[in-house]
């Protein structure tokens, strides 16, 4: 097959392919570090920049790539693959992309090795630089940190795409024909970013496909967080970009965040993209609310539904339902997990609430007596408010303590404002009253109606005199105006 190739050309070609493979790995891995890459152009050739491109060599990556290659070169049936995966702080992982450097049997005997092949490999590397920024994993990798990290793995042998899930997309970066075969560089990337992970007791290694035919397997993680933080950090919540024309947008990104370790399931839902394009990933950084232990917040259509310590089976059923219905049924979630949130100071005994634990702020202020629903102010609001607000009552220091019990039918429990350490007998008015009276500066006298009316009347009377004076000085004014022009 390569009898026409001179030995020097053959040597050169092998060298080009080897360094091309190493540089390919560097470009891919560096594009997934989560940082912006910047290298300088140099007009003077340094002699060490392969393919006339400034691509830094991370020694560890080169080492791993060489280990995977083990002195061999990509050939027919022997491809070099770089697998990019995502690993969450909870220990779940998911393959995102497989970059394949393959060789097929189609040879181009006429091509010049030292010139054309080299330049085309250089062009292919530039294409790789461009393409590594347009697959979905790039944006995920830019946001990696406490919640998840991006990992890479290099293997040599048969390409394994099964870990990418159903319906993965492929993009071809480019091909270069050589006298010994055609080099092809492509990327297969996951579209369906949904997976169910299980907690302790299940083998998480099953998520990660075994590599039977590979000669070398290595897993190295690049992370912006130190390893100690990964185990304790939580998935942060990312609100979905729902809204107008959701059908056109494809499906939103939902991270069901903050489920504590007691829950058996945790679901990440990222829907497929539209029209075969890359799936949309929201631009918002992971700034979503850190869900606490008690609530699961799932904002759909911008509304937060809260559940008070949901039972685990109900919860997962809800969430898994939503994964089937994609974004189309927020109401299902609403029905299942919504409870009537009890407002502060509402006179509602605990045993009347049907759902599990009730979470009333300031529950100790709520009267404990049993009430029928007819008397419930939430259902039947009181008809007329008090003539003066209790606050104003206490302002005039009239038995303000009388308002403390409040009306049992009121929504509010009035508490007399007694500032700490104040005593009534020393000061003519108590500290609270003093504070209320003098909290704001007094109104300006000119703004009060009586005084304002007086000054206006005076102004009107003096107007004719003022006009007369101004008319006398007209010439001065005109001269002044002219100096301004």
């Amino acid at each position: 097959m390569d009898t026409d190739l001179s030995s020097q050309d053959r040597k050169d070609l092998d060298k080009f392919i080897k360094f091309f493979a190493l540089k390919t790995v560097q470009v891919i891995v560096q594009a997934r570090l989560g940082e912006k890459i910047c290298t300088r152009s140099s007009s003077s050739p340094t002699g060490s920049d392969w393919f006339n491109l400034a691509i830094k060599d991370i020694p560890e990556v080169t080492h791993e790539a060489k280990k995977a290659l083990a002195g061999q070169l990509p050939a027919v049936g022997r491809s070099m693959c770089v697998e990019i995966s995502l690993k969450t702080s909870e220990g779940d992982s998911m393959e995102l992309e497989i970059w394949c450097l393959e060789m097929n049997e189609k040879c181009d005997k006429e091509i010049k090795v030292s010139y054309t092949v080299y330049n085309r490999l250089s062009l292919l590397l530039k294409s790789l630089l461009a393409i590594t920024r347009v697959t979905p994993a790039y944006r995920l990798s830019r946001k990696q940190g406490h919640e998840y990290v991006i990992l890479y793995r290099i293997y040599f042998g048969e390409v394994q795409l099964s870990g990418l899930g159903e319906g993965f997309q492929t993009v071809r970066v480019g091909t270069v024909g050589t006298p010994v075969g055609t080099i092809t560089l492509s990327c297969a990337y996951r579209i369906n970013l949904a997976f169910m992970s299980t907690r302790a007791g299940e083998d998480n290694a099953a998520v990660y496909p075994s590599v039977e035919d590979s000669q070398e397997v290595c897993t190295t993680s690049f992370s912006t967080s130190p390893p100690s933080q990964l185990s304790s950090s939580r998935l942060s919540y990312q609100p979905a970009a729902l809204g107008v024309g959701s059908a056109d947008m494809g499906y939103p990104v939902l991270f069901a965040g903050g489920l504590n370790a007691a829950h058996p399931h945790q679901v990440l839902l990222i829907g497929p993209g539209k029209e075969g394009g890359v799936p949309p990933v929201p631009n918002q950084p992971a700034h979503g609310t850190q869900a606490d232990q008690e609530r699961m917040c799932t904002p759909l259509d911008g509304v937060y539904y809260s559940a008070a310590t949901p039972s685990s089976s109900e919860d997962t059923e809800t969430v898994s339902n939503s994964s089937e219905g994609k974004c189309g049924s927020p109401h299902d979630l609403l029905e299942t997990i919504f409870i009537r949130k009890v407002g502060a100071f509402v006179n509602k005994p605990i045993n009347q609430v049907t759902m599990a634990n009730l979470d009333i702020p300031f529950a100790m202020f709520a009267p404990k007596n049993v009430e029928l629903e007819d008397n419930d102010p939430m259902v039947n609001p009181p008809e007329s408010p008090e003539t003066e607000s209790p606050l104003q009552g206490s302002l005039h220091s009239e038995g303000s303590s009388g308002s403390s019990t409040g009306n049992t039918h009121d929504d509010f429990v009035m508490i007399d404002f007694k500032p700490a350490f104040s005593k009534d007998d020393i000061l003519p008015m108590d500290l609270g009253t003093f504070y209320r009276e003098f909290q704001n500066p007094p109104q300006l006298s000119s703004l009060s109606i009586d005084i304002g009316a007086q000054s206006m009347a005076e102004d009107l009377d003096s107007l004719p005199e003022k006009l007369a004076v101004h008319e006398k000085n007209v010439k001065e004014f005109d001269a002044f105006v002219e100096t301004l022009q």
């Binding site: 912006k36 890459i37 910047c38 290298t39 300088r40 152009s41 140099s42 007009s43 003077s44 050739p45 340094t46 920049d49 006339n52 491109l53 400034a54 010139y115 085309r120 062009l123 292919l124 530039k126 294409s127 630089l129 461009a130 393409i131 920024r133 347009v134 697959t135 790039y138 944006r139 830019r142 993009v171 071809r172 970066v173 480019g174 091909t175 270069v176 024909g177 970009a241 809204g243 107008v244 024309g245 947008m249 993209g273 394009g277 890359v278 949309p280 990933v281 929201p282 631009n283």
Partner: protein
């Protein structure tokens, strides 16, 4: 460096030569996204159409400098792209795109226009004829500027345009890797007929950028900006 008014070509480069490869890309963007979208596409094309600086040696061989690259994040689009690390080149493109954007905004425009990036070779002619510019690749980006009503639509537009640009980058890369016609590597005396050697750190193929705005009447107003080689002589 762009558009000093000296002509190096005969007729306007609007009509490509018979073997000129022509590619057309279309994007719909919001007004404030025009600049970034155009820069992303033009930089991606020029990344593939730029080499390191040539240094010719006595024996007729040459060595090539190194091209650096850098990531650029867009502010108004959910998108990032790679460009050549050359401030001169970036400035030249920004200037061209800025003029295009201003023309799009100008009165009489209904928000439609196109910007063209043409790669050409110069063919020296004898006096008194001026040098001929022979285009060999023409990229046309058609732009449609949309007006959005509220912030929610803008957010959707950010993401949608980002996706569209990803598709455009993939299209560009696909064309580039067809390995179709490229000018032959020139000798030292011919290098300025093929490459723009005016930049100090990189060497793109000779190119020129022009744009057309469709005004509300549907007619097109052509404005051509000519990019010159530093040692071009005016006749």
């Amino acid at each position: 460096m762009v558009g000093t008014g000296r002509r190096c070509c005969g007729p306007s480069g609007a009509t490509p030569a018979m073997n000129c490869r022509a590619e057309v890309l279309e994007v719909s963007v919001e007004g404030r996204q025009v600049e970034e979208a155009m820069l992303a596409v033009l930089h991606t094309i020029l990344l593939h159409r730029s080499t390191g600086k040539f240094h010719y040696k006595k024996e007729g061989t040459y060595s090539i400098g190194t091209v650096g690259t850098q990531d650029v994040d867009c502010d108004f689009i959910d998108f990032a792209y790679v460009r050549v690390s050359s401030e001169e080149l970036d400035r030249a493109l920004r200037k061209a795109v800025g003029e295009f954007k201003d023309a799009l905004r100008g009165s009489g425009s209904d928000g439609m226009g196109q910007i063209s990036l043409e790669f050409y070779q110069k063919k020296k002619s004898r006096w008194p004829f001026s040098d001929e510019c022979i285009p060999w690749e023409l990229w046309t980006i058609k732009v449609n500027v949309v007006n959005l009503a509220n912030e929610q639509e803008r957010q959707i537009c950010r993401e949608k345009v980002g996706e569209k640009l990803c598709e455009k980058i993939i299209n560009i890369v696909e064309v580039m890797n067809r390995h179709e016609y490229l000018p032959k590597m020139p000798t030292q005396s011919e290098v300025d007929n093929v490459f723009d050697t005016s930049l100090k750190d990189v060497q793109p193929y000779l190119y020129k950028i022009s744009y057309q705005i469709t005004d509300s009447l549907g007619t097109s107003v052509t404005t051509t900006m000519r990019r010159l080689i530093k040692d071009t002589l005016a006749l």
